[in-house]
Each structure stands twice: as structure tokens, then as C-alpha cells.
């Protein structure tokens, strides 16, 4: 089942089932009993517009637009407190991250900081096979534009300088895996398989 591209409906009747079947951890989502242990456990629930409990209910009510536009997706710290406390065994962390990944894939998140950071991160992975904290951060900062990037860099200059001084920020050429070609081939293949599965799913 493919998710509907119709954005006019506030409540999309097929959305809940689509999430159950297509989002990482979504297969367990139907077991949610809305106890709220997840939201109560969240370290930065106060920063979220909805929190995980309500987000799950919004999925059930078919509120696709509101779910993908929720900042809850981008404020997960991956502390897994909700996951280990869920009495119904729902991997809440994975569900929130899975929804975030879908939001990116469906084009909801181009302006979201976390999505920018994730893209910078993935750029580093695909280019070098390893993460260069300096380059990821720089690329992330400059994804806001050149001026904003300079400003953000200056904001954190003290931290960066401290790291450099202690030898904890790499300053030479980026570390790379030596078989970078092989790694890229693997990632390309994996992406290809994922696309193939998606199309297969739409046909069935």
C-alpha cells in the first residue's frame, strides 16, 4: 500500500495501516494502549509539540499531515527510555525515527535541522566511509547558507578550538576506509534493493 499523496484530507483513513506496514517498528504500533509511559519518560518531551503517545494516536486518527509536520520526529534523543518502559513492547524510539525517515523521504523535512544534519552525516559516510565530526558539522552549518553557516560556526568556535587543542578534532585530510569503492557499491546496491521493494509493495 502506498501512502496517499492527497494532502487535502485532514484525516487519511488509510494512514494508520500504512504506518503499521511500512514504518520501522510500525507493526507493533497497533498494540499501543495509550498509557503515556513513553511521553512521561521522554527527556525533552517539553520541547515536543505532541510527544510520542499523542503522535501514535494521531497516526491512528489518520492525521498524516500533522504527523509528518510534527516536531516530535526531530526531537528524539534516542535515549530509548520509552522503548524499555513500553508495557506493550512497542519500539517507540524506532517508530519515531522511522516516521522521521519517512518524512524526509516524502519531502516534508527539507527545512528541519535534524534532516539537514542527517544529510550531512550521510554525505560523510558515503564519501569517506567514516564520519568526520568536523566536516559533518561544517556541512551541517553551511546547509543553512553561507552567512548562517559562518555565524553558527562562530557560536561554537570555543568548543571546536578546545577540541583541537586537546587533539580531539581531526584537522588533516578526512579519515577514509581504504576500500571506499566497495563500500559505495554496497550502499548503492542496498538503496537499489530498497527502491525495488517499495515498488513491489505498491503492486501487491
Amino acid at each position: 500500500m502506498a501512502v496517499s499523496s492527497d494532502t487535502s484530507q485532514k484525516y487519511d483513513l488509510g494512514f494508520a495501516r500504512w504506518v503499521y506496514q511500512n514504518v520501522k517498528g510500525g507493526d507493533k504500533l497497533s498494540m499501543c494502549m495509550q498509557c503515556g509511559a513513553c511521553s512521561g519518560s521522554c527527556p525533552i518531551g517539553t520541547e515536543m509539540d505532541h510527544g510520542p503517545r499523542k503522535l501514535i494516536m494521531m497516526v491512528r486518527a489518520g492525521m498524516k499531515e500533522a504527523v509528518f509536520q510534527s516536531n516530535t520526529l526531530w526531537n528524539c534523543t534516542s535515549c530509548y527510555r520509552c522503548t524499555v518502559r513500553c508495557p506493550r513492547g512497542i519500539p517507540v524510539t524506532h517508530v519515531v525515527q522511522g516516521l522521521a525517515a519517512k518524512a524526509v523521504a516524502l519531502g516534508y523535512a527539507s527545512e528541519v535541522d535534524t534532516a539537514r544534519f542527517a544529510h550531512s552525516f550521510w554525505w560523510s559516510v558515503t564519501h569517506f566511509g567514516r564520519t568526520d565530526e568536523r566536516l559533518v558539522t561544517a556541512k551541517y552549518y553551511f546547509s543553512f547558507g553561507f552567512i548562517a553557516g559562518i555565524k553558527k560556526s562562530l557560536d561554537n568556535l570555543k568548543i571546536a578550538l578546545g577540541m583541537v587543542m586537546k587533539g580531539r578534532m581531526h584537522v588533516g585530510l578526512p579519515h577514509k576506509v581504504s576500500d571506499n569503492k566497495g563500500l559505495r557499491a554496497i550502499l548503492e546496491k542496498a538503496t537499489e534493493i530498497e527502491m525495488r521493494d517499495k515498488q513491489g509493495g505498491a503492486e501487491s
Binding site: 484525516y11 483513513l13 494508520a16 498494540m31
Partner: protein, 769 residues
Amino acid sequence: MNNQILNPGVYLCGGCGIGESISLDALEQVAGKEYKVPVCRQHAFLCGDEGRALIEADLAAGNVNQPIVAACSPRVMTDQFTFEGTPAIRANLREQVVWAQPAGEEDTQMLANDYLRMAITQAAGTVPTVAAPEGEYSHTILVLGGGSTGLNAALAAANTGYEVLLVERDNQLGGWANKWSKTLPHLPPYRDPQPNTINELITTVEAEPAITVLTGSLVTKTEGGPGKFNVTLSQDGSSRVEHVGAIVVATGWRPYDANNLVHLGYGLNTDVVTGIELEELLTNESLQRRSDNKPAKTVMFVQCAGSRDPDHLPYCSSVCCEVSIKQALQIMQTDPAASVYVLFDELRTPGTAEEFYRQAQKAGVVFIKGKVKSVSADLGVTYDDVMLGQEVTLQGLDMVVLATGMVPNSTNPEIEPAENGAEQLLDDVNPNTPLSLAIKIIDNDAKEVVPPTAEQAQASEPVSAALPGGPLLNLQYVQGPHIPMLVDGFSDSHYICFPYETRRTGIYTCGPVRRPMDMAEASEDAAGAILKAIQSIEGAARGAAMHPRVGDLSFPKIGLDTCTKCRRCTIECPFGAIEEDENSFPILIESRCRRCGTCMGACPVRTISFDNYSPNMVLGMIDAVEVPDEFDEKPRILIFACENDAYPALDMAGLNRYQYSAFIRVIPVRCLGSVPLLWVATALEKGFDGIMLMGCKSGDDYQCHYVKGSALAKERLSKIGETLKSLMLEEERVTMAEISIADSHSIPDVIDGFVETIEGIGFNPFKGF
């Protein structure tokens, strides 16, 4: 006072701390010196073989024919202290004296002495009871209703060895179950809808030689009582009379009328269906909607449609949640791509139904907690989503299913309402509810006509509105033709304390006419009701009482020589056991009698009594208490305690070693309804400073084992004020306390509080007269 009775023997037990707490020698003085009881023995362990041998030897030698055991409560050691088939008279020295009072005190000894005096007097007023069954008793059970419950009831009875007459108003057996595509899971692992096995059940019943099936039949009249019911049946315009021993009513339920649910879209769109209508649409193919036969891809179940709603059914029908889960799973099983929503307020999945619920969750059924507001003609469902805290309108559904509730068939809506008895059907407990007999009397005797008050007239309006149809059994009883309802139209007596029992002896209900339930529960319920019916039949044939005085052979004897035909016994008997002969004298329908003594409490001229329980016996016990004069500063409080709950609670208070005033004297009674005001007046004249009636709760949530005994006692007591005033006594001297069997912890507060009140008022001025 009759201080000399023939051949009593007093046996004093010193065990369980009695000997250490009080003087058995002093008790021996009471028996020997005061009452001249010729045989009085002490033993340290009376319930043991040696102790019993002591009593048996005296009985065998002919020295004693009425043993009086002063030991533990009459509620315990009943087998040990029953001799030659007759229970000994007991004085409760353990639970209600030594366990509730300090050892070695003068007041403790005085309490024990009085209980022995009361027991000796009780023995003097007791005549051995003899069973007196008369005439021919039927052992056949009539089962009314041939649906799933009735079929199971009939089968349970047949399997136990009883003949069954199974009466069904439709032309075929099976009832609603004939419509079910599948049934709820009743077998492990309780996760999938099960095949409907109603046809197998019908086949089994039809093949059972002990069961006679009468379809297309109605009961038009029921007379008699347990063991001796005469039931008139009509079938195809002809009628016949059947003699049956007991009746099990399994008339089931009908769905709430969805035409009342226009706000939920019913009638506005053919794709708004009830759960029952959906059953016929569920097949092995994927679900199609009624309007255009297109597949229903998105379906929403709306739970509590017209249930738990003061404007419709105020109660929960308990099965709709599981039924919707079943139907949702069936839809998903035939079409895995379907989106099925269940909109619920509170999902009720008790016991193994939780497994079923989880199965539906796993299958991807979307459960939404919310309160439905409306369903529009274009299938838009608007609800308050409780978990989101906002109103939501879902558009684009293919079908909406209303989970409607169950209405009990406690009347038959297909026949004419009866002309009288409707009030009794709705409110059998209230002593002020007019009886059909009273109405008849008023009709026959024009000068007694009392026009109904405006209140009564208004009250009678909803009675007829709430009661479509006529009586199921058309009982020819004083109280009217119906089986009374308990709450919300369901026929029962008390769900918890005495399930299956109606307020008519020998008639039991089971299945959804008793309370909402599913087929598996109803099947067990059917077996339970059948067991009660069998008890009733066998008890009636032996002349023995039903619950709660199971096996009691005594019954009320009415002395017609002094009867004033006042009709109080006839009207007040909770079970319609007393009817009238052609001269308007009361006659007892023995097998309907539960032996509660309400008639005895009602009789103003003391002409009703039991061999082992009578007005004079208790008057003797009251008189046996030594009431000290006021200079001793020892008040005396008399407590009439109901043997069903209050007396056991007093025993348990002792068992827990709760201490309370030693100034009370307790007389166990069968029911507060059996207490005549004469006893109260006599006790006050004798010099008792206060009187307490301790019994079960009355009112809508009554716990009285005889339905309205407590209510009657309350009613009678409300009229004692005049008597007290004429005696120049304070009204507070007479009171009533509601004590349930679980209330032993509150016994000290209740007793000591009352003693304190009495001490505040001062001593009874009649003391010493």
C-alpha cells in the same frame, strides 16, 4: 415463667477458652437452681467423641430428650451437635461471650448466664419439626426459550437425568444464534472467531429422548408452586396443561431498536448497519456494502451505540465490544487490505477476551478511544478523540457499524400487556407498591376505593411505556403475573448473593434475560439455573425449604381460629406463598414458602408460628433475660440479629476478638421481616433500655435474602414512634442497623455507639415494674 420443662439436658463446654473466661459452675447453678434442669454436665471438649458420647448416653438412657449445648455458635459444629436428626438448642458462649468480652468479669458471666437462660427457654418453646409433603410432585423442568441458553439448559437437565419440556415461541429452535456467521472464541488460545455450532446443538437436543420440544408455543397461564406447577401452553390455537416441577426462563434478549439512533446515521444511509445486520453480510468473501455491492474497504465500528446512554440503554451489554472485535477480525481475514476502525469509549474485554483484543490489534485493527457525537448521511463520523483532546471528523468511510446493546426479554413484546401487576414487575421490593390483589380487593369493595395520588398517576406512566408486551408465564399469584425485574429490566433477584433466583420460588432465570452475557457465559448460566431448579424440585418433594434455609422442614402454621382475615400475611409474603380460600382465610402454598417468617412478623394477632420459631418462643427468651434494676447501673440492650448476615458478622467479630459492650443480649431471627412489633414493645415493658434490629440492607440495592424483609421491618419500625410516645419513651430507644456479612469490623462501633446513646438518654423508666 415456666421454670420446669420436660427432659432437657444442659451440656456446658469448657473448651476454646470458655472454661478459663467464665465459671461453668455458675452456669450449672442457673440450669439446676433456677430452671431445675435435671441433667447438667460439664466437659472440657464437648464436640470431641468423648463429649458427644456423654450426650448420646443420656439420650439413649432416656434421661434427656432435648439437649442444650452451651458452647460455640450455632453456626459451627452443626454435625457434631445434631442428635437423632435434630439439632441441639445452642447457647453461644464462645463467639459472642468469651471471645468478645474480657475474661473473669462480672458482666461477662452475666451475659453467659442470660444466654443459657435464653437457650433453656428456647428449648421449652420448640417442637420437633416433621416433613409434610403432600400430593404428587413433578420432576419435569420446563425451559422457556429455545435459543442457545435454553438449548444448553435443556441439555444440562437431560444429562442430569431430568425430563425437560422445552418451549419456544418461534417455529424453529436456535434463536439469534441462527444468524451468527461465527462466534466468539471460547476455546484456547481465544484468538480467532470460532465456527457457529448452533446447528449441532439443536440436533443434539432434538435427538435427546428426555427433552420434549414444543416450538411455536406460548405459556398462557402458570399456577401452583415448586413440584406442582400447572402450566397452560398454547400451540397452533390449541391449549394443554402440563404438570412441571420447576421453571427455567431463558427467553434471552432482543437488540436495541436502532431506529432510535438517527443521530448515529441509522436510517439515513443504508451503509449504516447494526452489528446484527452486519452478521448477515459477513461471509467467506470480502465484505460488500449494501448500497452498491462494492467492497467495503474502510469500515468503522461505533461502540456503545445507544448503550451507557441515559437517553437509550443506561447499561453496558458486555458483549458488543467482543462482537465488534470478532467482526473486525472477520473483515480483515477476508480482506487484509481493509482499514477497520473501532471507535470506543471504554473497551471491555474481560478475562480471555483480552487475548482476542490483542489479536485484533496485531491484525492491524485501529482502535480509537473517543466519544461519538454523530454519524452523517454521507458516513462522516464525528467524535471527541479523548487521547488527542480534539474533535475529529472522519470522512470517506465505506460503512459504519453500530454496536447496539441487548434488551432483556423479561416480558414478551409480541403479546398484549397484562392488565395488572406492572408496578410489581418494576418495584417488587418496595412494601408500598400496590399489589394486584389489593387492586382486586379495592375493585370488589367499592367503599375502599382510594383514588391514586397525582404522584402515583405520574409514576404509572413510564411503567406502561417501559413495558412492551405481556407476562412470560402469566403467574396466577397475588403479586401479579410477572417475574419481577431487578434493574434495567433484567429478571433476577440478586446477581451476587443468589444468582438465577427470581423472586418467585421454583422459577429461575439464566442467560441474557438475567444480565447481558455471551453464548459461552449463557451456557454455564443455563447449567447453574438447572441445578437450582433441581434443588427446588427435590426440596419441594421432601417438604424442605430452598435457599437460604436449605433443608428446613418447618413451615408457618396459621391458626385460623383467631385469624381476623386482615390479609397482611397474604400481602407481605415476598414469595406469594399465601393465597386465600373462598372465605378469605389465608392458605399456605407450602412449596413456595422460604420459611422466612415474614408472615409471622406481619400477623397482628400472633396466630402464625413455626414449630421451632414462634412469637411466644421469642417472648419467653426476652423474659428469660435478667434485667438489673437501675441502681446497678447496668443497662440492657436487646438485639434482634438476622441469622443470614448480621449474626454471622457478630460471630466473626468474636473470631477477630473485637471487644464490645457486655450489656447487649442477642436473639437470632430468621429475617428482620419476621420480627413482630409485639416483641419490641414487650422488651421495652420488661425494662430493656434499648432495642436494635440488626439486619440486611434494604432499598434498591437490597441484600435481604428474602427480598423485602428488611424493607418491611423498616416500614413497621417507622410506625413504632406512636407506641413509644404512648409509653412516654424516647424514639431513639429503638433503632435499626444495616450489617452485611463483611461488616464484622464495624460491629463494635455500631453496638458501643448505640449503648452510648442509650446511656445518654438514661434508663428505661419501666425497669422493675
